[in-house]
């Protein structure tokens, strides 16, 4: 990852309540009864579909597909530009960034694959995603965007 090296990786004083750093370096944390589990708010089936789509697209195009879901800030374009360098292998990747609170989707591709993933292909991805997002289906839109883009990208 291009997030830069950070030492120490775990700062004990920054850990949440009920978490402890063991001597081996592992973090041991407690789950208090009744609290929400730290899970994603999606069903297992949806996550598997997304995972399969990402794997197939990355395998067939040799371009790394990344999906970011979260707040991109008021200027979603600038937010996506800021996140792009922190994603895995940015110069050879496609980033599909979705900001549900701003109802915006941003697609960026790396400079090393710019000839294959050009603006026209990223626009295809946006079109596919927005069609499903309009119907309220997030994972469907992401999977559609990944499939459409990987099908349109010429093979390596």
């Amino acid at each position: 990852m291009a997030s830069g090296s950070r030492y120490p990786a775990v700062v004990e004083s920054e850990l949440p309540f009920g978490a402890v750093l063991t001597t081996s370096g592992r973090v041991s944390a407690v789950h208090r009864a009744g609290e929400e589990f730290p899970e994603l708010p999606f069903t297992e089936k949806e996550l598997i579909r997304l995972d399969d789509a990402l794997t197939k697209a990355t395998r067939s195009t040799k371009v790394r597909f990344n999906v970011y879901l979260g707040d991109l800030g008021a200027d979603t374009g600038a937010g996506a530009d800021a996140i792009f360098p922190t994603t895995p292998e940015p110069e050879r990747s496609v980033l599909i960034a979705v900001s549900p609170n701003h109802r915006a989707v941003e697609i960026r591709s790396g400079k090393d694959v710019a000839d294959r993933v050009n603006d026209r292909i990223s626009q295809l991805g946006v079109t596919a995603a927005v069609a499903s997002f309009g119907e309220g289906d997030l994972i469907d839109g992401l999977v559609a965007a990944i499939r459409v883009m990987s099908a349109a990208i010429s093979a390596p």
Binding site: H31, G70, P88, D119, G136
Partner: protein
């Protein structure tokens, strides 16, 4: 003891006790917590940001550059194609 009393003491009472304890077990939640409610578009996204990637997949040029070029380069230098949309 008549046969009915024997049945009541050795079958009836244990069955009632078992039923009460089993019933109590159903009162609580089967799991020690809650699963987050499903996120549908239109709801507010309150979770931490998520980044999905097929990190186990190997791309042909996975060791391109020093690995730190991304950090030193300005963000815009890494971007080849771009597009955006709203819904």
């Amino acid at each position: 003891m008549s046969i009915l009393e024997t049945l009541a003491v050795f079958v009836g009472i244990p069955a009632v006790v078992t039923a009460i304890i089993a019933g109590l077990a159903f009162l609580g939640s089967p799991i020690a917590g809650k699963h987050p409610t499903h996120f549908n578009l239109g709801d507010d996204w309150t979770h931490a940001p998520v980044l999905w990637s097929a990190t186990d997949e190997v791309t042909t040029h996975s060791h391109h550059g020093s690995g730190h070029a991304e950090i030193e380069a300005a963000p815009a230098d890494l971007i080849g194609g771009r597009s955006s949309g709203k819904w």
